[in-house]
Symmetry: C2
DNA sequence: GGAATCACGACTCTTTCGGTCGTATTTGAA
DNA sequence: TTCAAATACGACCGAAAGAGTCGTGATTCC
């Protein structure tokens, strides 16, 4: 309960590493995988998501690799987390349009859940990548 | 990821209900189960944990049921959550003595994870049961 | 003594998560 | 122009966690 996924952990490590690169240089998934002992295939998939979201820039082919698309002080952790996992919520009733929570009608804690959600969101939108490099 | 368990959701609903009782009265697991459409067996187990932790008082036998052990403004949500699920952490490296995180030696985000953990903890220790009744 | 209630642990089923694999595509350089 | 190194993508599998059920026992009131 209330765990971050391994994907997010690995993603944070990877993005932090990329953020620490000298400008103009790139790093490959393989290098990061070796350096931090992260399963290559898994890391590759994570970096693909980060690339797809535009947060990191992928360069294909030989001499390819990843670099950061903008300054670390412009990147809240929420951007990284959302790129990897999409919007995450503490309970189904937060996100679902059709209330597919079985007990929705009688639920008495919706407002509390929303408050918790807002506070959790704020944690990640407040912390910047630049703080953790 | 970052989800509250159903146990915690149900527990919050139940404790909130108990907190709203007139003093001197009790409510049974069955009544709460019916009222909020929560699976009885599951709810019973949750209430047992809450009882074991001393947060609610269980009265056995006919005319038995549950009541609150102290004033709702003395009960942060963290107390409820911990009673139900024990201490929960956002990543293994937060709690484990023997670092059984496989990549512990090379992990570069420990301090960030701790910061996230502290902020999450604060959410639940700050919100009081009295606020959600 | 019986009915209503809480207590506890074992068990099953489902979903989520972590991780792997196969294949395609892009790119730089020999 | 060919090949190797790299990213891209989706399908798949096994393990772990989560949700829910069941059986049995203990306590209390009438």
């Amino acid at each position: 309960m209330l765990r971050l996924s391994k994907r997010v952990e690995y993603g944070l490590i990877a993005v932090r590493h990329i953020a620490a690169l000298h400008v103009g240089t790139v790093v490959t998934a393989k290098e990061i995988s070796d350096r931090y002992h992260i399963p290559f295939d898994l890391l590759a998939k994570i970096l693909q998501r980060l690339s797809k979201s535009g947060l990191v820039i992928a360069q294909h082919g030989v001499k390819g690799g990843y670099s950061l698309s903008k300054s670390p002080d412009q990147i809240p952790l929420s951007l990284i987390v959302n790129a990897i996992e999409g919007r995450q919520v503490v309970a189904v009733c937060i996100s679902e349009k059709n209330e597919d929570c079985r007990i929705s009608e009688t639920c008495t804690i919706k407002s509390s859940l929303f408050k918790i959600q807002n506070n959790v969101d704020q944690i990640f939108s407040t912390m910047l990548l630049s703080e953790i490099v």
